[in-house]
Amino acid sequence: MTRVEFPPHLPPDDNEQKNLVVGHTLHLPAWKWRDYFTFNVDHKVIGIQYLVTAFVFYLIGGLMAIAIRTELATPDADLIDPNLYNAFMTNHGTIMIFLWIVPSAIGGFGNYLIPLMIGARDMAFPKLNAIAFWLNPPAGLLLLLSFVFGGSQSGWTAYPPLSLVTAPMAQTLWILAIVLVGTSSILGSVNFVVTILMMKVPSMKWDQLPLFCWAILATSVLALLSTPVLAAGLVLLLFDLNFGTSFFKPDAGGNVIIYQHLFWFYSHPAVYLMILPIFGIMSEVIPVHARKPIFGYKAIAYSSVAICVVGLFVWVHHMFTSGTPGWMRMFFTISTLIVAVPTGVKIFGWVATLWGGKIRFTSAMLFAVGLLSMFVMGGLSGVTMGTAPFDVHVHDTYYVVAHFHYVLFGGSVFGIYAGIYHWFPKMTGRKLNEVWGRIHFALTLVGTNLTFLPMHKLGLQGMPRRVAMYDPQFVDLNVLCTVGAFILGLSVIPFAINIIWSWSKGELAGDNPWEALSLEWTTSSPPLVENWEVLPVVTHGPYEYGHSSEVGVLET
């Protein structure tokens, strides 16, 4: 376990350091609400800024999804104008990926937890951290502003030549928005890499690093290597749109396939950007609530790194139907299937951790277990599509939509919820209400499956994605999906009420309500401005539950 001992076994000069810290931060009331609206450099404020902003965008993107599903309740394009439908469809995807999952999983949890987990007082570059966050709100506003100019309508992939002919001004705003969030992501990643590699408290060994930190490290490396390539592609698209170049205009010597390569070289790894931090959250939540050491610490840590490496070599599986030659299909089929191996290692690690554990079905654990089942389904359909022959059959059908929603909603969003229920007490000092949590979980689980399970069948039967009108034979399943989408929409309400109510009036949590052993639980809830009065000394790993040394509360 991780034990903080007072007085700490620090050399005398470090005690001087302690006095210095205590001198100006001693039990300051954590933060006032106003601090969250300012350019604050504290990683905890920034983490919450990320989470709340991302959640607002989640609601906006969710409303777009509701509009899309309402339109799809009937086979005709009768509710909203088809162009507006396209704009909703494009911006729903864009917002959910770039402004909800990525910023909340990496920016939100990463910023809040990484320094706390490694025993640092802040991130390596606090100002840069704040800059990275403040690039996000303008990006969202640009996306919303694009609706004034007809909305970007080419899907979140923005494939030319379509993106060059529909609403050029809106598409330009879309590109600028993505470049902003991309810059934010790169700056954030620089910060994470340097923080994790350089600022770990000296007493923490590498094999005592919480798995969430390994996950964020792998994620950041992936973001650093892939995001700039997307930026390059988008710059070329921007020039094609506005400055008369012809990179992607076939009639003038350009080629649209190169855009797809540049785009997917980022956007395939982006799915790991969305799921690797969530894997990290799972590795923290499951052992705590199952009261067992995590099974296969090293395997789980290294599998994050393996996913990061292999994930960079699979992007062409999105392009099997783009005239890709056979040898390339073969190579990318195999590399895609290989990614399932490290992912499976993680899944088996978690299941083995649950096996024989003393499981507490808190809301956090419910979402974690929900994630396990949902993500396995999404992963399996991913494996089927990773094989070129099958992909050719279901390409651009609702089967794809079902797959990535199981991964991104059943995976990432469930994981973000699990993380919020787990760390809310640390962030606010109060617990979320468990009854409301259960209602939230039940609605989410039912809603997810009702919405996305029928889509597999729709896709196999040949219903194309991205269109407002469809063959009337698909209407029954579509109605089912729409009902599910409304349940999903409703599920947010108990959650939002729970957050708002518990933040001010919830049950006081104490420093370590889950009796967890990782470092962030050794400080007060919410933590002091510089995290610790005295930096902790790590004597045990973060997952040693059930050992004789396990203690319920910290010895202070």
């Binding site: 620090l10 000069d13 470090d14 350091q17 810290v21 450099v41 640092a120 007082r121 802040d122 390596a124 570059f125 606090p126 100002k127 840069l128 790169i186 700056l187 990643s189 620089v190 910060n191 890499v193 340097v194 590699l197 350089m198 600022m199 770990k200 408290v201 000296p202 650093l224 290597l225 892939s226 995001t227 700039p228 390539v229 997307l230 930026a231 390059a232 592609g233 710059v235 070329l236 020039f239 400055f243 008369g244 170049t245 012809s246 990179f247 003038a252 010597g253 350009g254 080629n255 190169i258 390569h261 540049l262 070289f265 510089e530 930096l535």
Partner: protein, 197 residues
């Protein structure tokens, strides 16, 4: 990194020198991937177009070669500045950094001269698209490097701002300048030398 330095890193909201160098290096890895995206695009078109560069959009070698010599040697010049400050010689550092800045400015002027005399523009054909985007983005980076060097020179007015033990800003400008140089060598090989061979 000890506890003390980690703490100091937060104190003035200014990162410890080691952290800043690592941060810059990490960022530059990322930047080089962006150039990588452009290079990949260029190579893709080069590989799929029969006549490359297309007739009428050939590159001119004289000015870029001189520019290359200037930029490569400026990497040595800036390093003399770094060596000077490590001996505590602020004036020596300023001299070498001023020389570097002049060389950078000459490079940019050379690029503008080249653009004006090529006889084709950004939108002429795909080769011209790639050529101007790649050299233009590199030129932008030279310009940023130039600003960093000028920033170092501006800050060195204050006595004691830089010394034999305190020169991280100078080192960061130097690293960035070397990066710009390395990218140029790759770019020069791809766009100029390969097309002559």
């Amino acid at each position: 990194m000890t506890i003390a330095t980690a703490h100091e890193a937060h104190e003035g909201h200014e990162a410890h020198p080691d952290l800043r160098v690592w941060g810059l290096l990490t960022f530059l890895i990322s930047e080089s991937l962006m150039f990588g995206g452009f290079f990949a695009t260029y190579l893709f078109f080069r590989g799929t177009t029969e006549v490359w560069p297309p007739e009428g959009t050939e590159v001119e070698l004289f000015v870029p070669t001189i520019n290359t010599i200037i930029l490569v040697s400026s990497s040595f010049v800036i390093h003399f500045g770094d060596m000077a400050i490590k001996k505590g010689n602020v004036w020596g550092m300023r001299f070498w950094y001023i020389v570097t800045a002049i060389m950078g400015a000459v490079f940019l002027a050379g690029q503008v001269y080249e653009y004006q005399n090529l006889g084709y523009g950004l939108t002429t054909n795909v080769f011209a698209n790639c050529f101007y985007i790649m050299t233009g983005f590199h030129g932008l980076h030279v310009f940023i490097g130039l600003l960093l060097i000028l920033g170092v020179l501006w800050r060195s007015r204050r006595p004691g701002h830089y010394s034999a033990t305190k020169h991280i800003g100078i080192e960061m400008a130097e690293i960035y300048w070397h990066f710009v140089d390395i990218i140029w060598i790759i770019l020069f090989t791809l766009v100029y030398i390969l097309n002559i061979l």
